[in-house]
């Protein structure tokens, strides 16, 4: 008996240490210099927690645990080795896995305990499985859209919000009924199935540009459901970890929403789809200035200060390594090159930073929107690669534009703007970009990777240059 009590105590101590390590881990992540130490702290905490749990006195059979741990590791390794461009969908997929775990544990707990459940436990358990199951299908949908298995464009229909809210409402009603009457166990499957459907419906109207916000939001849900699970199992460690995850997801989604000047509800319930129809019509072809790689190279070579603005297009074209060659070629000529990164550029928070870091571009050259915008009037050339809406000056000037009020990178204030784009087709949101018709804008039509490659070749060719 003393032995068992001793092991209980040990487990508690290990859990407290693990929780502390998790917090330290996130603290160290705040700077690139200490970040890898943070990962190590997280790993150590995780190891302690798992080893501690294996000593739990209630465990009688280790076979399934061992099989599952091995199987999970086998699946996990390739998931950790995906290409950097696939990181957004990988992240969405891991939200789905996390949510699946939480939902399954919640379900098992319910059938073990019901109907003898206190209202408090039943309440948090309901929260756990509702958030867990909607995050599961929602994240799978998001991953599908990001992987382009599913159509990226938002799918909307009349009364969509009403239907969605209806499903959520039913789930909440079921949760309340179960909390008051846990003996009505037949309600439980419905309380899982309905949020599962809701998760799918929630993501259907969401398009690519809103993905950063949605991924953050799903991240937050996954964390909150884990924290709820912590209350059910009375595990402080789980509550801490879940709360950390929930908080980080929440902060990121608020950041993303702010960066688009839209509220949460707007992102979730107001797909861009309906609004853009009016904005896109009535546009006749207007003249644009275009340039060849040779001309672009000459202008870049003559510049003192260049800001490169990358967007999702750069990721699609896998152009980051070519961009690095351009960065090298220009830096060698004494041109000051920095990167201006909009918070929602790409498909998840920080997406562009990771891609550029992968291409070996030093992180102190990656500046965020506020840092870059102040210098924009002194910038000779702003080179936009595969970004669109985040550079659209209509966000500042045109109150009728769907993106009006969204903070943008003021590339139009640079002396010359060059935009690499495949065609004049409007970007994801279907909003016309007046930037392209400005007198100081040069359109560089072509594939981002090929075009940047050509510019680099030009720069290398006439190294006498300017």
């Amino acid at each position: 008996m003393t032995n068992l009590a001793g092991s209980d105590y040990t487990i508690e101590v290990l859990y407290v240490i693990a929780a502390g390590l998790f917090i330290l881990s996130l603290k160290w992540l705040s700077s690139p210099g200490t970040a890898r130490r943070g990962v190590f702290a997280g790993e150590l905490g995780m190891l302690l927690a798992i080893v501690g749990t294996l000593f739990h006195k209630g465990i009688v059979d280790y076979r399934w645990i061992a099989i599952a741990l091995v199987l999970g590791s086998i699946i996990g390794v390739p998931l950790g080795r995906v290409a950097m461009t696939a990181v957004p969908q990988r992240t969405a997929l891991s939200h789905a896995f996390g949510a699946l775990c939480v939902t399954l544990v919640g379900t098992a707990e319910f059938y073990l305990r019901a109907p003898n459940v206190t209202p408090f436990i039943m309440g948090v358990l309901s929260l756990e499985v509702i958030l867990g199951s909607l995050t599961f299908t929602g994240s799978l949908m998001a991953a599908g859209k990001l992987q382009e298995i599913l159509p990226q464009r938002p799918i909307t229909y009349k009364g969509q919000n009403f239907v969605n809210l209806g499903f959520l409402g039913i789930a909440i009603v079921l949760a309340v009924m179960l909390t008051l009457h846990p003996e009505r166990m037949y309600l439980f499957p419905a309380m899982i199935i309905i949020p599962l459907i809701f998760g799918v419906l929630m993501i259907i109207p969401i398009g690519g540009a809103d993905m950063p916000t949605v991924i953050s939001l799903l991240n937050s849900y996954a964390g909150l459901s884990a924290a709820a699970m912590g209350f059910v199992l009375d595990s402080k460690l789980l509550i801490v970890a879940g709360a950390l995850d929930g908080a980080s997801g929440f902060i990121l989604s608020v950041n993303m929403s702010k960066a688009m000047n839209r509220s949460f509800t707007n992102v979730l319930f107001g797909a861009f789809g309906q609004e853009q129809a009016t904005a896109a019509t009535g546009q006749e072809a207007r003249p644009v200035h275009s340039a060849t790689p040779e001309e672009a190279a000459a202008i870049l070579a003559a510049a003192n200060k260049v800001v490169i603005v990358p967007g999702y297009g750069m990721a699609v074209a896998q152009a980051q390594h070519k961009v690095r060659e351009l960065y090298d070629a220009l830096t060698k000529r004494g041109v000051d090159v920095t990167f201006g990164i909009h918070p929602v550029a790409g498909r998840m928070p920080g997406h562009m930073n990771v891609l550029l870091a992968e291409a070996d571009i030093p992180y102190d050259k990656l500046l965020d929107m506020d840092q870059v915008n102040g210098d924009m009037p002194q910038t000779d050339v702003a080179l936009v690669i595969g970004a669109n809406d985040v550079t659209n000056p209509a966000a500042r000037t045109d109150a009728s534009s769907p993106i009006y009020g969204m903070p943008i990178l003021d590339v139009d204030k640079a002396h010359t703007v060059m935009v690499i784009k495949r065609s004049m087709n409007p970007g994801f949101a279907g909003i016309d970009n007046p930037l392209y018709y400005l007198d100081n804008t040069l359109m560089l039509f072509g594939d981002a990777k090929a075009f940047v490659g050509n510019i680099v070749k030009e720069l290398a060719g006439n190294s006498g240059g300017h």
């Binding site: 929780a19 998790f22 917090i23 881990s25 996130l26 992540l29 705040s30 700077s31 970040a35 890898r36 990962v39 995780m46 798992i50 749990t53 739990h56 465990i59 009688v60 059979d61 399934w64 645990i65 099989i67 599952a68 699946i75 996990g76 390794v77 998931l79 950790g80 080795r81 995906v82 990181v87 891991s94 699946l100 775990c101 939480v102 544990v105 098992a108 073990l112 964390g223 699970m229 789980l238 879940g242 709360a243 950390l244 995850d245 980080s248 997801g249 902060i251 990121l252 950041n255 918070p343 920080g350 997406h351 930073n353 992968e358 070996d360 030093p362 992180y363 102190d364 050259k365 965020d368």
Partner: protein
């Protein structure tokens, strides 16, 4: 509550530069839910709980392993142009 508050303070200071690693790391940490799954699968109280617990361990472990690997890979790539400040 306290954890959420501390988390809030800590995470707010993470620069946008590292938001992707932040998300993958918190994801891996979130998979600590595996401890609940381990107990479920190990206690063997019912077939249902063993089966669900086992699947849950697989899902969570893949997150732990994959999450830590990819976070570390990403962070390895972030290099300063000159000597990094301590």
């Amino acid at each position: 509550m306290l954890a959420a508050f501390i988390g809030f303070e800590v995470i707010r200071r993470v620069s946008p530069l590292l938001h992707t690693p932040l998300m993958s790391l918190t994801n891996a940490l979130d998979a600590i839910a595996v401890v609940g799954a381990i107990i479920l699968a190990g206690e063997g109280k019912s077939t249902l709980s063993t089966v669900l617990g086992t699947i849950a361990i697989v899902a969570a472990t893949s997150n732990i392993v994959g999450g830590f690997i990819i976070t570390d890979r990403m962070l390895k790539m972030f290099k300063a142009s000159k000597t990094p400040k301590p």
